[in-house]
Subunit: 366 residues, 4 copies
């Protein structure tokens, strides 16, 4: 059941990088939502490859064909299935990789789990490409959240050793998030943005890759969403964010830095502002006891360097069971961070939508 998700809405993700198509079924969306296909395409374009000199020049046609769940432009309440057909496949690129394990990829554990029957081409079901339908589902969720004034945005916090400036987590506004969403390489400081791009180009030119950190903000979340324990908002967001390939860490509010603090520093004091309870700082990233407290939800996601590099690597050929060398040719992202960023937003949006439906029931109110 690895590829199904959700409590109130249910996602069923399918597809392999070089199969017939990839897609997602979204069960139990509320009826009567008018999909803004322009907005959805725009969100999906943020993830799509081929849009920048920093990403793979590989073109993928991420046009979603909706097979069900829409009638006269609106959701019917029945399961919505969106499919992206795989048209631009170059399977021969991968044939030499059949038995040579690519380090840091899923190749080896997938081969063991699936007894060698998994589709190894392009990582198969483990490919980052499978996040395209997740992005589609998340774009629908983001559209719906906007009807409730809930806005999600992210910036690139760091690429390799280069970091963006600090921000006050208690004071994040819609203007900033909109601006970030329009930037191809969203950072607070433009200078640092350029330095980050240089890091990526340098890695690309040396046949290497780099990782980075994405920082995500969700504002106008009402207090009271979430659950205690196993379905805390942190648990839910972490679960879905870790399903994005290359993610190796997540932290909320001050995260790992909070562990180096004192309670007197990181206990966020309450105060009244215009009759509303707010915190004067936001070390906890908008979540206490697993439940939203109305402050901005803030979390950071650590993304590893793309495992596909053209430098020579040591590995094993599993057919001969012999040590061997590997150079991965092809059109790869030297840094997956900018393309992972919108997927993280999409994933978080799905969590918020699920919790709102849990709270408010199945009739959508906006």
């Amino acid at each position: 059941m690895g590829s199904t998700w959700g409590n109130r809405i249910k996602l069923s993700l399918f597809g392999e990088s070089h199969g017939e198509g990839i897609g997602i079924v979204i069960d139990s969306l509320p009826a009567g939502i008018e999909l803004d296909m322009n907005y959805i395409r725009q969100q999906m374009a943020r993830r799509a490859p081929g849009n920048s000199s920093l990403a793979t020049p590989r073109k993928e046609d991420d046009e979603v064909k909706i097979l069900s769940g829409i009638f006269e432009g609106k959701t019917t309440g029945a399961p919505l299935c969106g499919v992206i057909y795989n048209n631009n496949i170059r399977s021969k690129d991968y044939s030499i990789l059949k038995d040579t394990l690519r380090p840091s990829h899923s190749d080896y554990p997938a081969k063991v789990k699936y007894l060698g029957f998994n589709d190894y081409r392009g990582g198969g079901h483990f490919s980052g490409r499978i996040t395209a339908p997740l992005m589609f589902a998340g774009a629908i969720a983001m559209q719906m959240l906007q009807e409730k004034n809930i806005v999600i945005g992210s910036r690139i916090k760091s690429i390799h050793k280069t970091s963006d400036v600090r921000i006050d987590y208690s004071n994040i506004n819609e203007t900033l998030l909109k601006k970030l969403k329009e930037m191809a390489f969203p950072t607070l400081s433009e200078d640092i943005s350029n330095a980050m791009e240089d890091e990526i180009i340098y890695a690309k030119n040396s046949g290497d890759s780099v990782g980075g950190v994405v920082e995500t903000y969700i504002i106008n979340v009402p207090a009271g969403l979430g659950q205690p324990f196993f379905h805390s908002l942190e648990s839910q967001i972490a679960q879905i964010v870790f399903s994005i390939p290359a993610v190796k860490g997540i932290e909320f509010g001050e995260g790992f830095d909070i562990a180096m603090c004192k309670g007197s520093e990181t206990n966020d004091p309450y105060t009244l502002e215009n009759g509303k309870i707010i915190c004067t700082q936001n070390s906890n990233g908008g979540i206490l006891g697993g439940i939203s407290n109305s402050m901005p939800i803030v979390f950071r996601t650590a993304i590893k360097p793309t495992p596909s590099i053209s430098l020579q690597q040591d590995t094993v050929n599993i057919l001969d069971m012999k040590n061997t060398k590997l150079k991965i040719e092809g059109r790869h992202d030297p840094c997956i961070v900018p393309r992972a960023l919108p997927v993280i937003e999409a994933a978080a949006a799905l969590v918020l939508l699920d919790n709102i439906l849990e709270r408010e029931g199945e009739v959508w109110k906006n």
Copy 2:
């Protein structure tokens, strides 16, 4: 459904800090497991309060009464319910906290979510005390994993600004893990252990609290456990670990540091060792594509400073809707890290057990 968890086994956690009792139902444990109650008590004692000058002197009787699922000392295959009755309750301690929101606690969001009907005494269902039955379930899981030679151990990686030394993630052995498990304050370097204890005592004496980081290792995990996407091992472990109160971050392998690296540095090369495929380093912490690759699983958990401090804090009285000051009296942990450590292990053990049952079916083989 916040307090239910699991795919193959199902946990149902219940109880409030100052109610009649707390407990857990564990559904679908395999039949025929002989519970080692000494081992289980020993594991639970690691979490229990009152064991150290570094922790709350509050005594809690964490003796588990098993109501079902055991017959003649062995699991029957029917749901196992374990209850800890709340005997040592001092409810009046909390009466003044009814309307005064404790910063960094669940008080405010819980009040909104539950419309004010939640049991506010001691945090109610959000109390850290509710991890005692989780520890019980996890201790059963740890016992079962040991029958498959899978061992879990942890060390305190840091307390406040004091950090333990680095370890090679590709080379962690059972001897080390056993040693760590026997230490009240497990670290690699004894000197640093003392410095950490000083940090805690200093915080305690100043009415403050400190956070820290726990690093957890799981060895001898066979390759092929886990799922792609939403139920990746990272997703599953993160989900359950974030249900432990005070956790604000989790990272696997090199985690956030991997984001500052190049692919050529963190792609873990494969090699053959005695005919077995291993990695010569373990930046990915034993998980690739969400599935175990037979290397040690390594993750770190960030824990915030205990929110209950006796220093004066700014907050709001929700009854009058007025700003007010708060000093939390009582017997609190100046640092929850040492007591959270075994709960993290317990949580991870439950994930591993669930995945083994998924892989191997309901008849337990050892």
Copy 3:
């Protein structure tokens, strides 16, 4: 996961007939519900043994001890755990049954499934006694449904060969349901009620047992509850009703009789009554396409004769693997139908409550 249930609320049922105790955890009940313990006890008494010459004289103390989820008489929103301790246990009654398979009981398949580790005493977790906590949960649901004017009632449709008179399914009112609920042996015709009781007494006196059929009605259900396909109201009700021991069939509306009809006879025509859409007949029992249509929900449940009889039976001793004879001594119900009846109502109430929460969200409105 056999003993967990639910979408919006989650039940976790535990206990064995002769263990320490039996109980249930109800997760995600709305907060702020004031439990009417008199009503709940009254409902539970309907199921309890020892109340009638028609049932087992065995006394069971079905007093529920609530361990969590209630504060100042109201639900807190946290999991509610109710336990019934097993006080009146006579385990030696069962020792001779350890290896002799009781026909029509779960003994044999349970032994295979649980490798012989199941608690065989009194059927263990398969005992009808485990329906007591289910009755408790269902009584809470029934109380809540009443706040929405939804009322559930049942009659005994038949015992052995004796059947009650026919009723018009489109015209069932609250007065009737209340009257049925107050009868120890609820039927429409009092004469038939006496004849049914005679059937039971005759069976009892001859060391035998008899089965029967329960007919259940749920009125004032709003249109639009339920789901298509796998979670149709019929699917949901059938799933939970088949969890009641001894149930062997369920049918909705005209049920198996509808299969002997023509469409022109059983298509329920719509008409307007006081501006409201109703059906002029109710062959479909209030459910179309898996969703309520505002007509009374009507279903019948077939219950087999109690398998425990004192007549001699052929069976196998599984220790020697030899054919043998068995006479079951002890205090058994000659007919379980009257005691199963309230459990069926409880089960149906839980389904309705779950669907209302799905529809309306987690804040209870009445």
Copy 4:
């Protein structure tokens, strides 16, 4: 979440009768299963319309396009998505039905649930056509069960008032099941088969429809499959069978007849046969306590007359809110029983497969 199902495998069913396409995602099928597409097509053909003078002459192209989860002819272990594109759609047939509620169809409750946004054409997601992808999934399950020697077959037990002869439930063999599967109109008595067909033709000619009962057998099921309580085999089979449109009842073994019996008649005695424990009769239909006992699983499903009839019916126009008359023109099945029969088998096969995976784990053994 109405259209998702399963514990170990997860189904996600999607599609509307007159939308772009219908299909299913099957998550967590074991890897390495070589799909026998001929067998699968053959099974699907049993359900497809246009094959008989007794069914609708409407032609539907039920060719499944597999988008994922298959590589080199075998399952990869990743989610398998099968799609049937809707090519032969005549949507104008339905335009007059937009506001006129068809009696006994889902039209009215669906309109309420989905606030009028559901696709009303041909019943939308509630169409019997959506069982085609369920048949596809079930055919895969049936193929896999055969590798374990588990065989499923059914006969038409009755059509309208005409019933087939009785069979001994304790003695059902593979030869019979194979023979039944090859018959277009499977019954034990050929004469009765003809009489049943006459019933259908008579109904058809008079613009009416008839219902009937299907009896299903599953043989060679090992003892020990299933769960207690909420996931009893009966609960699981009933849940999925009630998702098939037009089903109004289900009963196991002697079913409702058992309710008219004495325990001494229906307690199935055990005996040893060639060292194996069997029952000498099978009133319980192979399931005790929710768990298989190795006897044939036997159940009957009641199917109502097709609601679409060309006779005039009373109903309401929901736009004007006025009483009106309705005649449903078009190509409808006068009796859906023969086409529902293979879907019932498919549904039961999915339950068995799920339970075998629960028992045996994710590596398929045959």
